[in-house]
Symmetry: C2
Subunit: 264 residues, 2 copies
């Protein structure tokens, strides 16, 4: 495929790209996401992701990493160079200095009923969601189910905060969390600030489903009813609380610790 | 003290306020910080903090929480109402919709040599630093030493991310971390991605000093040399790493877990 050069902000491809950067509904409908910068684009490719288009700042086209990326995608991907002034207009919406890539949102298969998982209900803050994904990926819990009320998990901000975690996880969007929890065969842990049971009293060495709720309202009563007990993280200090991303990190790494201890 | 009304952005007090919002050096030199919003101002007062001035959006002056705040500071604090247009100009720098408060930066006394503590070397990201403070406060590690190279711990962004943690902690600024670690009488834990020893193999039930380093370069070799071993958090998953705030949260709550287990 020949490489195009785009020198007008009125170009239809760029208009589509801007819309996808800004609009979650358009991203969902098209089944696409926008990857900002060389790091995310490369991480996606390395994990077997499918790029559909590459928009490169013409000023950065000779950058060795970009040359390598263009060579590696070969004929399969439409590559365009964008003149710097026009690129700056598009990227006023982003922080990517050198390239934007369009990629398909993967649709993972449902895992077996005994595979550990994370259930996220109506998480609103992109930074929180990205951080949670990073902790999940680092701790080895790879199945993540997101309610319809979560912020778009493939939004540019969540992708940025996730630092590549998206591409090693199986992200199940618009999931029916009640059905997922009902079907799950293992320990069901719903976290709540007013939880009655300490996280540290739980055996996390078998299959675990962790449920985390909205930043303001926590886990819904409907989901709470499906778990045997509400779990809390003990906080001996004077501060009010941890945010949901920190709480998820503590829970996920308590599982890591227990698995390490078991492995001896 | 009578309540003033300020209706010009050229007012000298407002110019000083803007400068303190923007400029870390001015904040340090004056020994002041700017608290954005009713939540931080109230949290500071409740913890015994000393406000020196209150700037209130005139539109919000009848808000019950603000009326209460003004009553509670009594005659000790200069209170000014700012006309909405002028307030909007100042707060273009912040996200506070209703008030800004000036407060003195506390200068805490050095703790005894066996009190657990957190040492932070050249932490640059305000969100990371605020999150670390929140975890410290929630976990009950109240003595925090910050190297000169850290971002201003009393910057508006760090205060925002700290959500009030600043006011329950003892924050030791511009600390000589080598001296602090040398004088400390307990377990010295330096964290590093390439650390040789698992966090989970450490006894954290006695006095502990946790050392966390710069986001890019980690803990300096000079500080590493003062600790018996470099500690890592095991990461069985595929993701690159946790950021320093998540790593600190995991370490601080592993201490909580061990203390809980010991208490039985």
């Amino acid at each position: 495929m020949p490489i195009k050069t785009i020198s007008s902000a009125h170009n239809n491809d760029l208009k589509d790209l801007s819309r996808l950067l800004q609009n979650a509904r358009d991203r969902r409908k098209s089944g696409l996401m926008v990857l900002e910068g060389i790091h995310l684009a490369t991480a996606s490719l390395e994990a077997g992701g499918e790029l559909t288009a590459l928009y490169i700042n013409a000023e950065a086209s000779a950058h060795p990493e970009i040359v390598q990326l263009v060579a590696s995608v070969g004929e399969r991907v439409a590559v365009s160079y964008i003149t710097p002034g026009v690129f700056a207009k598009v990227t006023a919406l982003t922080s990517a200095p050198e390239l934007l890539a369009l990629a398909r949102r993967p649709v993972p298969e449902r895992p077996a009923a005994h595979v550990s998982r994370l259930l996220l209900e109506d998480i609103q803050d992109p930074g929180n969601l990205g951080t949670i994904l990073r902790s999940a990926a680092a701790s080895g819990v790879n199945e993540v189910f997101l309610s319809k009320g979560c912020v778009d998990v493939y939004s540019p901000k969540v992708l940025r905060a996730g630092m590549g975690a998206h591409f090693v996880l199986n992200l199940h969007e618009a999931a029916d969390l009640e059905a997922v929890l009902n079907d799950f065969n293992g320990s069901k842990l719903v976290t709540a600030l007013d939880g009655a049971v300490s996280l540290y009293s739980q055996d996390l060495t078998g299959p675990v489903a962790f449920v985390f709720g909205n930043e303001g309202s926590g886990v819904s009563t409907a989901l709470q009813a499906l778990a045997p007990a509400r779990i809390k993280i003990p906080m001996p200090g004077q501060a009010e609380s941890l945010n949901v991303a920190m709480a998820a990190t503590v829970c996920l790494f308590e599982r890591v610790r227990q698995l390490e201890a078991q492995a001896g």
